[in-house]
Amino acid sequence: MSTTTAPAQVLHDCRDAWVATLIELAEADPRIVAVVNDSVGSSKLGPFQDRFGQRLVNVGIAEQDMVGVGAGLANGGKVPFVSAAACFLTARAMEQVKVDAAYSQHHMVLVGQSPGMAYGELGPTHHSIEDLAWLRVIPGLTVIAPCDPIETAQALRWAAAHHGPVFIRVARMGVPDVNAADYEFVPGKAVLLRPGSDVTLAATGTAVHRALDAAALLAAEGIDARVLSVPTISPLDTEAFVAAARETAGIVTAEEALTSGLGGAVAEALATRHPAPMRFIGATTFAPTGSVGWLMEHFGITGTGIAAAAKDLLGR
């Protein structure tokens, strides 16, 4: 997909970890239900539907109803996992996300499928590059973008037990295993994937392994890059970024999203605590026509693109 992803790497569609984990959770907890908008296939929920039948609530193509029904199911004692393409779940039902989930503090999990530019050629109407920037500012809503199958499964397990609203991106674009098998997701905490003292590369979701690729490229040029994986965009791990700002020359953020997502969150956190030079890697406009892989190259959300931004920051 990305020229800088070693061909050897096996790439995963995190939707597989999503459905396997949901089935595991649903077997253990009868309160768990899934709510979808004619998105059984696109959410890969076929096996869940076969197994739990009635516990999959398909409201049809009606996102506002979907989120409202999810909130009602929570009121009725269920733990709903509301699963839909991230673009429609967030944009089409934004007021329901704000009021029925966040302001109401319902225990419900909003699952944004195929986020970012996963829908490639289907265009900006189907891209969800806005979700991180939009949702991270909503008070009381936890926003998570896992970087691989293990983290996806862990974040879903945490959300199932967390008594509040959570939005989780489930990546469709292939990602390698980034975290070790014994990895444990900690909400609100960034993960140090690679120590480094020259510059910090902070990435979320599908951009994390690309940041590791960038660190490798930089190492070859004698630049020692720290790599932070940031699964939780809100609340942000401010301390990890203050330390990075203090200990390295600056921070490059990378995300399959508008740069006001993780990038904006970090810029805001540092401005009051420890201003530092930054570079933002991510989408900056609505995308032209192209495959997701082509678009990641187009916007430079690649190992080479991230490495170039780091060198620019370092004036090298």
Partner: protein
């Protein structure tokens, strides 16, 4: 991650009236229909009186839509629904959602009348840090099942609540009140389609059919007629009733589910501002605040009842 800085209400006693609410509580068990209707009528009168004072004191409120829906609220909380303050954690309790959240003062006063809120807390309505916000919030009041205010949210939530009950085979019923102008929101038709196709017969949608919305008559804005046909085409069992007739209302609510396999839609014909002569069916009173003289006249009219 805090939604709201949590602080304790500080109410300025001088800012709010000392008027109190005589709490009648639920219609006593074993009361005759006649006694029940008399109990509800008196409760509704007291609720309207307190609501009027609250709006006057706060200088804010939606008195027109509050007075149109009070008879429905009182009938539900004091008679139709099986919920009591002691049963708030009972999964099988009947649920109520005020989708037309702008009538919050009517809900708060009714909740106090039914014992879900200490009546003296009504004095904090809209005061700084009060739990009695201009729109009901479930995070602020235990008895509030859903936070509402933006129109077109309560019905989809009620469908989810009813769906959960169906999955659990619970006998509980879910009642939701929407405005009529509110039905211009497409989210309601999404929810009705879902409720109808899933046969949620323990769901009862009450439409406060006062024929007025914020700025004009519904028919002059974006007409709903033929409303019963629309509701039937979306799978509802439709019942029409006078929304100010406690006897008729308690019969309708007692009959829910009205038809096995179908949600019930009750078109409650009401008047905004009822029964105050100068407010009744007058669009100006959607959110107008009465002057001292107008409060006195309205109180006098309520005494006369």
């Amino acid at each position: 991650m805090t939604v709201e800085e949590d602080l304790v209400p500080q109410v300025d006693p001088d800012a709010v009236p000392s008027d109190t609410l005589t709490v009648l509580g639920r219609v006593p068990e074993g009361a005759t229909r006649e006694e029940a209707v008399a109990h509800l009528a008196e409760a509704a009168r007291l609720v309207r009186r307190r609501d009027l004072q609250m709006v006057r004191a706060a200088g804010l409120g939606h008195i027109g839509g509050e007075f149109s829906v009070i008879d429905v609220l009182v009938t539900l909380y004091l008679h139709a629904m099986n919920v009591t303050p002691e049963r708030l954690d009972d999964p099988d309790r009947d649920r109520f959602i005020l989708s037309k959240g702008h009538a919050a003062a009517a809900l708060y006063t009714t909740l106090a009348m039914a014992g879900f809120l200490p009546q003296d807390q009504l004095r904090t309505f809209m005061q700084p840090l009060s739990m009695l916000n201009g729109h009901p919030a479930r995070t602020k009041i235990a008895a509030v099942e859903a936070s509402t205010g933006p129109l077109g949210h309560g019905l989809p939530i009620a469908v989810g609540t009813a769906f959960a009950g169906k999955l659990d085979g619970s006998p509980r019923r879910t009642f939701v009140v929407t405005g009529d102008g509110e039905l211009q929101e497409g989210s309601n038709w999404e929810a009705l389609m879902t409720a109808g196709n899933h046969g949620l017969d323990h769901l009862c949608v009450v439409i406060d059919r006062n024929r007025l919305q914020q700025g004009a008559r519904v028919e002059d804005t974006n007409d709903l007629e033929p409303l019963a046909d629309k509701l039937r085409a979306f799978g509802m069992e439709v019942v029409e009733v006078s929304g100010h007739d406690h006897g008729a209302l308690l019969d309708v609510f007692a009959a829910v589910p009205a038809r096995s396999g179908k949600p019930t839609a009750v078109i409650a014909n009401t008047m905004k501002g009822h029964p105050i002569s100068f407010m009744s069916d007058n669009v100006a009173w959607h959110h107008k605040v009465p002057s001292a003289d107008q409060v006195d006249q309205a109180l006098a009219e309520l005494e006369a009842k």
